[in-house]
Symmetry: C4
Subunit: 175 residues, 4 copies
């Protein structure tokens, strides 16, 4: 079995960074300081399928924004850590809260602040347009850029390795 | 006659998914949970020309958003089914309401939730950047990506097959 | 002298379509039906330089939006015709109001509704990603796509042909 | 030592234009004239790292927008000059206020209004998709387009030349 699939097969929890991973990195800011982000609909369906398959999902992000609360709620994501420019303590809290080992956790990042967690997880993923150092440290690169389907790529990699992707997709093709 | 044109010639109703088809898939979300979508002006004119040619247009979408109501109203689209993550019942309601057979209906999609309808319609279209499984099941791929003119591509394919495109365009060239 | 430069040299008024020309065609719509458009900063500077050189600028657009009023005011554009899906009457009003002949007018468009004016003007320009029929009818294609600098391309084409570009740019290089 | 690195090694202050440099040039405008800009998260982290390394950051922009105040505050940028279509006086005020010589200052621009400052600074940078004349006058072109990481490119060029990049990045890789 391919090494990446072996790593993906053992994952019980996937942590996503937000800006540059579930978005393109674009921070929309208005006259009054209000913020907007652009997520992708196909990432959303991947996150739902992944959770339905029994894998948990978490968000750890350096910025803090009410936008993320809304998106996380919409997608049923329970573990949300915002305003954590130092991401490592949030990672340790999350391991403690869920009881998973670092080998059972995947992290998806795009920038250097993501490295402290990435180098400790069982599956370190960089989006296609990540910072060069992040790509160098990753076990796997998503075919898609951040915000353009990179999240979906990760969900399907893990479900495929765990044998849950084919039955989930087959259900859509029943006549 | 080419097979795709034969299928397109019999279409009386075109169903469009929204996110990833009439948009790029980008879901813009603000601080207060408010939502925004980016439609394309050239899709809009295609949908107007298609309806003027006598073909009906419907929307079936998994998400639910007031944005879609506004856009549908602007384009004179009468059949709007939102919040239908299970899309097949909406499809059956729509066939019942309009009296068309599945062979007279085209569906334009980008993701796996669209497959249950796509495999039942007379003309199944995937946008250029659709999920790989959706592209595999489609009769036709639009040259354009979702939100970048894919809707217009479909309108012109059908009008061309039905002989209504050339006169509609010729009217703009009368001196 | 090249034919396009000859046509450009005689232009006294440039008419721009909005959606797909001064924007990418993206129509951003919010929950309450509010609209947003994305213009380009480099187009803005081109339109200012063109007007400073003595060429007038007008907008004729099929849709109607308060956004366009704000952008036109910001750029000092006096002639604004909105909600004109039938664009030809607006064109005739504009010729009457300004006293220019059709040969002295350029039109920049992206879609088939633009054709009735384009085929009557002295210089018909299509943006790089215009509808295929519009590109076919144009005297010139902008190197840039709509909303990505196509407006600036037109301003510099005309100023270059009229000998006003080089001095305007040279002023920025005075030590 | 490479000439660009020599120039970068002496920089104590980096001036960024906003539209087209820290954004793609897109000016989002709403129904009521409200404005929005899209910044990039990876630029933000670069600007924080650059300031942490002891280099100062300034903004000089031709347009005026409350959006810029919000972004500048978020990034801890002290020197903000807006509404300066004539950019040279702002540049001179900034030199006076900081006490730096022009050789110690870098400027990052995309359009011709940026040229009067660029031709006077120790390091003139154009974004990859800048106006052709701006690219021609620049000492260095960023690999990335404006709003897509061009700001980060500049921060890392300067930190690399000053020997502060490697230790800053190494800190993220400590096990």
């Amino acid at each position: 079995m391919h090494s990446i699939q072996q790593k993906a097969a053992q994952i019980r929890l996937v942590i996503f960074d937000i800006d540059g991973v579930l978005t393109s990195g674009a921070l929309f800011i208005g006259d009054n300081g209000q913020e907007y982000k652009a997520f992708h609909s196909r990432d959303g369906h991947g996150l739902r399928m992944l959770q339905d398959s029994g894998v948990q999902v978490a968000i750890i992000t350096g910025r803090s924004s009410k936008v993320v609360q809304h998106r996380a709620k919409d997608l049923g994501i329970q573990h949300v850590y915002q305003g954590r420019r130092e991401k490592l303590p949030a990672f340790e809290e999350l391991l403690h809260a869920t009881g998973f080992s670092a080998e059972q956790v995947a992290y998806v990042g795009d920038d250097v602040m993501d490295l402290p967690i990435m180098i400790r997880t069982g599956l370190a993923v960089a989006v296609q347009d990540a910072h060069s150092l992040v790509k160098k440290q990753a076990h796997w690169l998503t075919p898609s850029n951040g915000g353009m389907g990179a999240g979906r790529d990760v969900c399907e990699l893990i479900m495929d390795a765990q044998g849950t992707l084919e039955p989930a997709l087959a259900a859509y093709l029943v006549k």
